[in-house]
């Protein structure tokens, strides 16, 4: 207790001790003076007799203080002062670290929220996505036929629940207002039971909700409740209009509930990712009428989820399912003719199904950010080495005076820890802002984007790398400092070689390492950029300039009849064509560059049993091919007269596949339940995706079984900017029961379809540029330090007759070695790395000479620029100044 009190009164105790000693000296001196000794002499004698005054005072004070802690705090304040004196260095260091740490934290948050964090459903590890594989449509994983799912739920005990759903965008309005596009999920009534989610308000679906003819109900998400009904607590029982059909709201889901949007769980796994698909807001039940469904078909229209029953692993459940599929194959009509195993199934954990695609990309990003942070730390370490060396004499003096090694190490480390601490604080702010921006303006559609937010785990990560960064940056100079042999440093004049050759070699190696990392990064960046360029510029088979497209949604109540749809289409086309801004306009049935859809079989009637590849079917109006600028290879385009005729136009690839070298014009084709006559062949186009080979297409006139999907294309006379607004206006004017789901220029659609590639390339370019900048700074730093160190040597050389150019050469040669070494090593490693990323590249080869050449050139010029200024400084030094002693 007494100790506690004394510790609290520490400062006072120290002062008292000091005062006491003074009093003692005073008294002794007085005594001596009384004995007749003069004052000065008396005081001197008293001091001598006392002993080492300074040391003893210190010791007395030390009894009361926490010397270690006080020393650390003192060093901390010293470090702050030092930084304040060097604001330029401090600012750059803090910025570099802040950006590096902020980026790392942001990316880590994304990784954590999207990939690592388990899904927000109860026991989400048991949730699986169930896919079917049917050899008849290519054997890849697709959403199952609900009739098969019904069989599974009866025969398979591996699942405690199976449920199917499909997603889309529909016009929804809370009242009589005009509908707005909203994400909608059509699901079986047991969806929330399988997910084990209980609505917060109202009730869950009942088993007979969604039966044809029964009451029409809907369940809303929390966001929908807020957005459509402003959080009205009396929302249960209110009416919501979906596609102009009234439905009663019977439940509202809890706030933390997130359902994947249409991008994340795609019923055809290979379909392109659409941009801007909204999170689902409204759930609408449906009860399947299995008797009406076919056994052989209806694939890829629904997504099926299952919850594994207790005691069943995924592999056990898969095996069971495959067995049931085999039984099914033998039972369904026509299935017995097929080979065993032609109908199969596979499972995928729901989390993997949702994030699997983006997983790789995100980890790539994480690696890139980590690398950049490391580069930044290395740069900082390098800079610190330079600064540390110039205060090496400081350290030597302190060591000679008896400073402990830990003290010296600490004093260097603390500065870096302070820097990285401030950098870390800046980093958190940047990460927060960055994540906010990312959420609202995400360039790519990440799954679970709504769940991305700065969480405690991310903050912990941020702190950890901040401290690590500080230690890494400070370790090298700190170790050098602490092992400073005072003798050597003190003997040297300040202008002679500062520091040992060892430290210089370390810095040179650091440069080499930076150059190596930078080269690899730049090479990869170059390849990605070329790949992107290739995708944008390759011959697509159609033209995107000066064109715009619009998607219209026809409310089924008013446009359920094909005649009404045709009338609308005709009306829109007439209105568009009469506008002065529009050169040509047409109707077609599927959004371009969003993957394959309407996949059908098309056979020649005389070759019934033939195994034919699948085709994409499209409905178009006359003028479509002209508007989108597809080539005519043979025959003719559609004309007005084709409305009543059964004619079809095929793509080049399809013609080749079915007719080989023969002329297909006049031939017959069985598709879509009818026999068509081929009247034309158009050139292959990559209208489904620019990243794949052109798909096989057949085109029919929109008069035949007009689909409900309605798209328009317009090519402008001057440009495409005004067309989207125009199209929206024209289409809405045709009928109040039509709304425009989206409209954009065709170029915008092309860019959106390449959003992922563009994002990757953008990120890589940003990183590459930053890495290059860091490397340049590093080279500049090493060289300027080296020039300062060799001032006398250079002065001597010049005095002895060396020319300025030879001094330039001398200095820049120093940089040349690590740069060349780093480049060579980087190129060598890149060849190997490129093989790993091959599948991300389109049309770019591993050994791409132009890219390699440009990277080497870029680096050479950057290194030269960085080396130039120190070299000039060296060459312009006055030899006399250099030779003059310290």
């Amino acid at each position: 207790m007494r100790i506690l009190r004394y510790l609290l009164r520490r400062r006072i105790s120290q002062q008292e001790a000091a005062a006491e000693i003074e009093g003692h000296l005073d008294e002794r001196a007085t005594e001596l003076m009384d004995a007749g000794i003069p004052e000065l002499e008396a005081r001197a004698q008293a001091s001598r007799e006392f002993g080492n005054l300074a040391l003893l005072t210190e010791e007395s004070r030390a009894v009361w203080g926490w010397t270690r802690l006080e020393a650390m705090i003192l060093d901390f304040r010293l470090a702050l002062r030092g930084l304040r004196k060097n604001p330029g260095f401090a600012l750059t260091a803090i910025l570099t670290l802040g950006v590096g740490i902020g980026a790392s934290t942001a990316v880590f948050t994304v990784v954590d929220s999207v990939i690592l964090k388990p899904l927000a459903y109860e026991q989400s590890a048991k949730l699986v996505a169930v896919w079917e594989h049917a050899a008849a449509i290519g054997g890849e994983a697709v959403g199952p036929n609900p009739r098969h799912v019904d069989v599974w739920s009866q025969r398979a005990n591996a699942f405690s629940g199976l449920t199917s759903f499909s997603q889309g965008v529909r016009g929804v309005s809370p009242g009589a207002e005009s509908p707005r596009p909203v994400g909608l999920v059509v699901c079986q009534p047991n969806l929330f039971q399988v997910l084990r989610t209980v609505p917060r308000l109202g009730r869950d679906f009942r088993a007979d909700d969604g039966k044809t003819g029964g009451p029409a109900v809907a369940i809303l998400t929390h966001a929908a409740w807020q957005g459509l009904f402003s959080g009205d607590p009396g929302v249960i029982g209110r009416v919501i209009r979906v596609d102009d059909m009234p439905r009663e709201v019977v439940g509202v889901l809890p706030e933390g509930f997130h359902f994947p949007n249409g991008n994340t769980l795609r019923s055809f796994r290979s379909v392109e990712i659409k941009k801007g698909v909204p999170e689902p807001w409204v759930f609408v039940p449906t009860v399947f009428d299995y008797a009406q469904m076919e056994w052989n078909g209806n694939y890829g229209n629904w997504v099926t989820l299952g919850r594994l029953a207790d005691g069943f692993s995924m592999s056990a459940a898969t095996a069971q399912l495959k067995g049931i599929q085999e039984q099914l194959r033998q039972q369904i009509p026509g299935g017995g003719n097929q080979k065993p195993g032609s109908l199969s199934a596979s499972l995928q954990s729901l989390q993997e199904a949702m994030v699997g695609d983006s997983g790789q990309g995100i980890w790539l990003l994480m690696a890139a950010v980590g690398g950049l942070l490391l580069l930044a730390c290395l740069n900082l370490a390098n800079a610190q080495l330079g600064r540390a060396v110039s205060s090496a004499r400081d350290a030597a003096v302190r060591a000679a005076l008896g400073a402990a090694r830990w003290r010296l190490l600490w004093s260097v480390l603390i500065e870096n820890v302070v820097l990285s601490g401030m950098g870390g604080a800046l980093g958190i702010v940047l990460a927060y802002v960055g994540l906010k921006l990312f959420r609202t303006h995400s360039p790519i559609d990440l799954p679970r984007l709504a769940e991305v937010e700065l969480n405690p785990g991310a903050l912990l990560f941020c702190m950890a790398i901040t401290i690590a960064a500080g230690i890494v940056a400070g370790l090298l100079p700190g170790v050098r400092f602490a092992s400073a042999a005072p003798h050597g440093s003190l003997q040297q004049a300040s202008t002679r070689t500062l520091g040992s050759r060892n430290s210089h070699r370390v810095r040179v190696w650091l440069i080499g390492a930076q150059v190596f990392g930078c080269t690899v990064l730049l090479l990869i960046t170059g390849l990605f950029s070329r790949s992107l360029l290739h995708l944008l510029q390759q011959d697509k088979g159609f033209e995107t300039e000066r064109a715009a497209i619009a998607e219209a949604r026809l409310l089924s109540k008013h446009f359920g009849d094909a005649v009404a749809r045709v009338r609308l289409i005709d009306g829109v086309l007439a209105a568009l064509r009469s506008s002065a801004e529009v050169e040509s306009a047409a109707y077609f049935s599927a959004m371009p560059l969003e993957g394959e859809s309407w996949i059908e079989f098309a056979r020649r009637p005389e070759r019934q049993g033939e195994n034919v590849p699948m085709v994409n079917a499209r409905w178009v109006s006359p003028g479509y091919f002209e508007a989108i600028r597809q080539k005519l290879v043979a025959g003719r385009f559609f004309e007005e007269r084709d409305r009543e005729l059964s004619n079809v136009i095929v793509s080049e690839g399809e013609a080749r596949a079915l007719w080989g070298a023969e002329n297909p014009i006049g031939g017959q084709l069985n598709a879509l339940g009818k026999t068509f006559t081929v009247i034309g062949v158009v050139g292959d186009s990559r209208s489904t995706s620019v990243k794949r080979a052109p798909a096989r297409m057949i085109y029919v006139h929109y008069g035949y079984r007009t689909p409900s999907q309605t798209f328009f294309i317009a090519r402008g006379t001057h440009g495409a900017e005004t067309l989207p607004a125009l199209m929206r206006q024209v289409i809405s004017a045709q009928s109040p029961h039509v709304f425009v789901a989206r409209t954009k220029t065709l170029n915008a659609q092309l860019n959106d379809s390449l959003a992922r590639e563009r994002f990757q390339t953008f990120v890589l370019i940003a990183f590459g540029a930053s890495a290059l900048l860091l490397a340049m700074l590093g080279i500049y730093g090493v060289l300027s330090y080296s020039v300062a160190a060799r001032k006398q040597e250079i002065g001597l050389r010049m005095a002895l007759g060396a020319s300025r150019s030879s001094v330039y050469a001398l200095t820049m040669r120093e940089a040349g070695f690590p740069v060349a070494g780093g480049l060579a090593a980087g190129l060598a490693v890149s060849f190997w790395i490129v093989r790993l990323i091959d599948k991300f590249l389109y049309g770019a080869k591993a050994v791409d000479l132009p890219v390699i050449a440009s990277v080497v050139l870029l680096f050479a010029s950057a290194a030269t620029a960085a080396a130039f200024f120190p070299a000039r400084h060296a060459a312009s030094a006055n030899p006399m100044d250099a030779l003059r002693p310290d």
Binding site: H24, T30, G51, L56, S60
Partner: protein, 87 residues
């Protein structure tokens, strides 16, 4: 007793045989103060100076006994060794 007086006492009592470095007394006093073996308070000395007067505490007395007995044991040990070597 205050620090200066202590030094004088030690010198006189040992008949100047023990020459203690005066200053080394003070860190020792501080350590004893911290450990609670002595207590101090500011007062006025005989020469009208403001000094800190030290006083042994009960805990200090116990520590003194311990130290004295261990010192005496050591003396005994030394004496015995010296004694046997002589004879």
């Amino acid at each position: 007793m205050h620090g200066y007086a202590l030094v004088e006492v030690i010198k006189r009592t040992s008949d100047n045989l023990l020459q203690v470095e005066e200053g080394s007394l003070y860190p020792a006093l501080q350590r004893m103060l911290k450990s609670g073996w002595v207590a101090a308070e500011w007062g006025v000395s005989s020469t009208n100076r403001r000094v800190r007067i030290y006083r042994i505490t009960p805990a200090g007395r116990k520590q003194l006994e311990r130290k004295v007995s261990s010192f005496e044991r050591m003396l005994q040990g030394i004496a015995r060794v010296m004694g046997t070597s002589e004879s």
